[in-house]
């Protein structure tokens, strides 16, 4: 009986939490067009989310590109197809690894930061103070982070892609002794054979930019949701950050699958 009650309570809590998350998402989006608009906070968040993530994004992108090239080189050597290593790196980076890696890195670095900051504002009553002084915390804290993440994740992803393709270039040149011009020719070849939207936007780019846009929303809203729900002092802040990173990472991987499937159906090559 007690067990059933506990399960019941836990389930109800989950449902409430989910409902709250959707209300939060709805309001955060709605307030993008509402007054007052906290532009200063948006700029500040773009710096915190975008500019300050540049380092890790370039680094992870570069090494992922290198390892992709290395692994595929080993396989392709057997078929004598090493000339196509650029094509393979590009396809993997732009469509999948670029967005997902950037998403996961930002979820870890920025998501946890947002959750910790908003969570400690919650437990030290700063969220209450905002409310008391007539500020809607969602307008002031959530919407600027959402806008910043929606704008910065695609930008970070492009940088991640480019770093990865350069990483592949390094391996192609020094490990496979492929001429750089040939490498870049296969890169472009891959992009142009993927098909185009409206005759000039490569399908690869659509895949590569829709995903990080969605991931940006997932990361910022998950972090704000768990941050605002923080209870139980500093320990609660730790719980909120952990939950944010786990939940956002899972959501990124799951939605990635569904977006890919939808885009493949919508944009056949």
């Amino acid at each position: 009986m007690a067990l059933l009650q506990r399960i019941n309570a836990a389930a109800r809590d989950k449902v409430f939490s989910l409902q709250e998350a959707f209300v939060l998402a709805w309001n955060a989006f709605r307030f993008i067009f509402a007054r007052p608009f906290y532009g200063q906070d948006v700029i500040q968040q773009m710096d915190a989310i975008g500019v300050q993530s540049l380092g890790i994004v370039v680094l992870t992108g570069f090494f992922t590109g290198m390892v992709l090239a290395l692994q595929s080189a080993v396989q392709m050597q057997r078929f004598g197809a090493t000339a196509y290593v650029g094509s393979l790196v590009t396809a993997s980076m732009i469509r999948e690894l670029g967005p997902v890696l950037a998403g996961l890195m930002v979820a870890g670095r920025v998501g946890s930061g947002i959750a910790a900051q908003i969570g400690s504002m919650r437990v030290t009553e700063q969220i209450d103070a905002l409310n008391v002084m007539g500020t809607d915390p969602i307008k002031k804290l959530v919407t600027p982070r959402l806008i910043a993440a929606l704008l910065m994740l695609p930008a970070l992803t492009v940088i991640n892609d480019v770093a990865g393709i350069f990483g592949g270039n390094v391996i192609a040149k020094y490990y496979l002794q492929l001429p750089t011009s040939l490498y870049w020719a296969t890169v472009w070849d891959q992009i142009s054979t993927g098909g185009f939207v409206l005759h000039f936007i490569p399908n690869d780019f659509v895949h590569g930019l829709v995903k990080p846009f969605v991931f940006g929303g997932i990361i910022s809203l998950t972090a704000c949701h768990f941050g605002l729900r923080t209870t139980g002092g500093t320990e609660g802040v730790g719980v909120a950050t952990t939950r944010t990173v786990v939940t956002a990472s899972i959501l990124i991987l799951v939605t990635d699958y569904f977006i890919t499937q939808a885009l493949l159906a919508l944009l056949p090559a």
Binding site: F16, E20, V23, N27, M121, R122, V123, T124, E125, Q126, I127, D128, A129, N131, V132, M133, G134, T135, D136, I138, R229, T231, G232, G233
Partner: protein, 316 residues
Amino acid sequence: MMGADDPNDTTVKEPDNAQAAAAGASDEERRATDRRGDDRAADVVHPERVRAAIRKEITADRDADDDPRNTDAQPVIELRDVSLAFDRPILTGVSFEVYPGETVAIVGESGTGKSTIVKLILRLLVADSGEVRVLGNDIEKLTYEQALEIRQHMGMVFQGSALFDSLTVFENIAYPLREHTKLDEDAIEERVREKLRIVDLDPDQVMELAPSELSGGMQKRVGVARGLAANPKIMLYDEPTSGLDPLTTGTITNLILKLQRDLNVTSVVVTHDIRSAFRMATRIALLHDQRIVFFGSPEDMTASDDPYIQTFLGGY
């Protein structure tokens, strides 16, 4: 629409050392009084003497018939039969009202729900049953936007200061001004300096500091300055003097008195410091066991024969 979010607003239980600090402060003060050279033996708490001392305290500051309350008017704040439970019942059938120009002190043991009452008044929490009325509005029926609007008439001093740690002291105090007024930069700076001076802080020294660079007592005072910044007609203080030295405690107590007398500000003060409660309150509400067990003037409180009130006062 957003109202749905509000009940989930959670209050975090204050760490116990806040209490310890509060107790420490009133200890300090008691010692300071003793040092003033009257013949009371410091270690014997004699109820009659305590009462006499308190009575002296009250009469030192005001005449009994100089009642600043305007009881003909509608109450500014009114709680009617309010009940609230978290995992256990906290408040049961709490009712009291605050008239314009009145200062009501809420006293009671730690963890009895004093901060909860203040949060109910601000609709940071919503009652399970009963009604909370502010300026004639049943605040539970207001939309989220209307609640924000009502709150602009109120200033709040949080128990834990709740300063924004991403902003400087100056920006913290300027925050309510920037949100609600059209003052220009010069006027804002002037106002911030004025508020810092009345809480005994040197504007030039602290204005550009981050809250984390201040001592606990200084943070508290900045919290008071921020609450006062927009010159609200209703002030809510949650333990404004806990953790402060006796001198600053006196300053803050005098400040609350002065606001009431000169500007007719209506105040609700949660406090552990019964001495300043007696000095500044027109009426005192004593919270015990989920209920308000006493609500009346300081004079009536000292005259009461109720054993709990006696022990409560005797403890100070």
